[in-house]
């Protein structure tokens, strides 16, 4: 198990390194001069050069890449060129929104999607199944930003139950922060739940056909007992892989939903930084997003190995 862990961690590190290099060098050849953008259109050449020097833009790319990598470890990502604040701080501040949002949506979609998927599988071929899967089809097909907008119009503008957007830092007012995240989380989670419900159903229907379910029934378990005791855990294995992949989309989804709810998340940070040509912020924030995805996939792999004894064995238990 330890060996497996080390192997996978090395893989994660390598992935991140390559991702960092890719992001860095792609964005480094970018046309556009952050210094000029910051100083505006009437800036003098001397001022521009002074700022460039201050930002370290005059050093060779490899040196700057090295510095950035080091910074990732020390937590010193440099100063934002446009916002004049430590980038690490900016990112951390945004994470207090983006992380709870993405994880909240992951949890919520799981809590909704899996039970519905199981329910549908139990009623396979009956009305309930068809109804649930029809709903799931719609859930998958709805663009999430449009769904988010409908939620706002109904629950914020018309019913005024929840705020239409915005965010209050947790430290300031945890209850308000929580309330602010309810609609965005739902907007993100429901389409995901629809996907999960479908995947769960398919997986459980597959498992239900397998021999060991018949064995369980031969023991005297009823169909539903057999599904619950033996089917669900087995069916969860492929679902977990999908959930790992889905997390990447949740992260992507937060960027979209942030826009609808004017939330100060990582996505907004990136977009403001892009329009300010503040590549230092863009590259670090992008890497954080990619890092999140990679780490989640790693955790899913790990969980998989924990749940499935066959893998634990293969993993050199």
């Amino acid at each position: 198990m330890v060996g497996y862990l080390i192997q996978r961690l090395l893989g994660v590190a390598l992935t991140l390194l390559v991702a960092a290099a890719l992001i860095f060098f792609l964005l480094d050849v970018l046309p556009g001069d952050p210094a000029r953008f910051m100083l505006g259109i009437n800036a003098s050449d001397e001022a521009l050069n002074a700022l460039r020097q201050q930002l370290g833009l005059d050093q060779p790319a490899f040196v700057r890449f090295g510095q950035w990598l080091m910074g990732l470890f020390t937590g010193d990502l440099g100063m934002s060129a446009s916002q004049r604040a430590p980038i690490a701080e900016l990112i951390l501040e945004r994470m207090q929104l983006s992380l709870p949002l993405a994880f909240g949506a992951l949890v919520l979609s799981t809590l909704i999607g899996l039970p519905l998927g199981i329910l549908a599988a139990q009623n396979q071929g009956k009305i309930g199944d068809a109804g649930l899967m029809g709903l799931a089809q719609i859930g998958i097909a709805i663009p999430n930003f449009w769904f988010a907008m409908l939620l706002v119009v109904v629950f914020a503008v018309t019913l005024k139950w929840l705020p239409p957007g915005g965010f209050v830092p947790w430290a300031e007012n945890p209850a308000a922060a929580f309330r602010a995240l309810i609609l965005p989380t739902i907007a993100l989670a429901l389409p995901q739940a629809a996907i999960l419900a479908r995947v769960m159903r398919t997986s459980l229907v597959d498992v239900a056909r397998q021999d060991f379910i018949r064995t369980a029934r031969a023991k005297g378990l009823s169909k539903n007992q057999a599904l619950w005791r033996h089917g669900v855990r087995n069916a969860l294995l492929p679902v977990m892989t999908i959930m790992g992949l889905q997390f990447a989309f949740l992260i992507a989804g937060t960027i979209i939903v942030e826009n609808v709810f004017y939330l100060p998340g990582l996505g907004r940070l990136i977009f403001t930084a892009i329009s300010a040509r503040d590549l230092f912020v863009v590259r670090s924030a992008l890497l954080v997003l990619v890092g999140l995805v990679v780490i989640i996939m790693f955790l899913v792999d790990l969980l998989y190995a924990l749940v499935d004894p066959r893998l634990k064995k293969r993993a050199g238990n």
Binding site: F212, A218, K219, G220, P309, R314, G316
Partner: protein
Amino acid sequence: MSLASLENLSIRFGDRQVLSNINLRIEAGARVGLVGESGSGKSLTALSLMNLLPESAEASGVIHLNFGQHVKIDATQLGEDLPFPYRGAQIGMVFQEPMTALNPLMRIGDQIGEVLALHRPDLNTKAHIGQLLEEVDLRADMHRRYPHELSGGQRQRVGLAMALAGEPELLIADEPTSALDMITQRGVIDLIKRIASARQMGLLFISHDLGAVAALCDQIYVLEKGKLVEHGDSQTILKNPQQPYTQRLVAAAKPTKRPEFSRPAQREPLLEIDGLTRQFRQKRYFWQSPDITTAVDQVSFALHSGETLGLVGPSGCGKTSLSRMVAGLDSAQGGSVQFDGHRFGHGVGPIPMAARREISMVFQDPFSSFDPRMRMQDALLEPLHLMPELTTAQKQKRVHEAVQRVGLSIDMLNRYPHAFSGGQRQRLAIARAIVLKPKLLILDEPVSALDVSIRGDVLALLHDLQEKFGMAYLFISHDLDVVRAVTDRVMVMDHGKIVEHGKVEDVFDHPQAEITKKLLDARLTI
């Protein structure tokens, strides 16, 4: 009053009748066998007794159960809604596939404990589970293992322990040994026999293998295409089958030796294998030393034209690995092959094209040996890639010849594989193997996947072809009777090594190696 009986049981799927008017009874303590070809309805018969029929099945007839008290069940009522407290308690069942019949995520002790919790909560203790495991010849401390940590035979024993845990009066075993190798199969059959008599259980044993049924049962029911064609005392039926179908089954179970034919004497062997070795290494992490399985270990032998060399051995001993190296499909880690003036193998290089056209192979599974998306015509033309000197017409002609040789008609060639039966496909596989007119034909279990009734025909075909073309055969099989019937010499393989080698009669009649004796002992003859 019998323990369980079926009265006019019929089953339909939609408008397809798959079982009609089955009458079958199992007395308390009796061992009843049910035989028939694949798809004849054996499993459905068993499942109806368990009320586990597929939802789409429509059954009719009557089922009588008599566990202390007589119950009469109208078969049309079968289904999830019917109260059926007997499953796991009075009736235990073992299924065919040991690999998939157990929940892979649950320790086997817990899986057995589940039955106890349902039916005998008083006995749900570690000690009792250990006892059950020991009853099926497993160690009590294995209860902590997961299914994947057990071999196929061991898993099948766990399945048996599970079926026994509820202390059933009737045990149903649906082909519990067909997926196991000969030696293990024998062990499990003996175990079932021992337990059934010790516990005084009724037994319904299902198999397509007449030998297995004969070894275990005192009564036999024979199913053909959903109809009961014959039943009675097992000795009577085996000795004196009445129905033509049963007669065919019995005959096929005892293959007869084909007559010898004359072969030109030769000094030079066609094929000479020298110290061939194949290892599979599995490395998990780059810092670990790899796990090495030596599948073939320093194997040497020779084979002459027109000769048939048998290769037998327990499952996993390396037979397939060896044959693939000879065919040039796998590269060797040691040793070399000398074939008809060509040499290839470790340190020499891959098989040369010229040798490739002289070696062909017939595979075990007729269903997977043809590309389902390719017309037979094209599939059979494919080997002729190796003979670019032929014109299209000549190639065509070769294919037609080969097809006629195996007794099929040319106009079938436009069809896709799915339009052929298993036996026809195996004939076509042979046709494909001989379009090149090879000197060596490797046959890896060529008849194991075929129904017994077809086996004889295919073996006869192979014999005829050898007589006509003088090909050498390397014949791999786990069925010693078949091997004895068709080969001249035989090699016995174990753990990658050839442990015994000689004329087939000598080896089988006077086995020297331990494994040969075991294999011969495990034979289930009727």
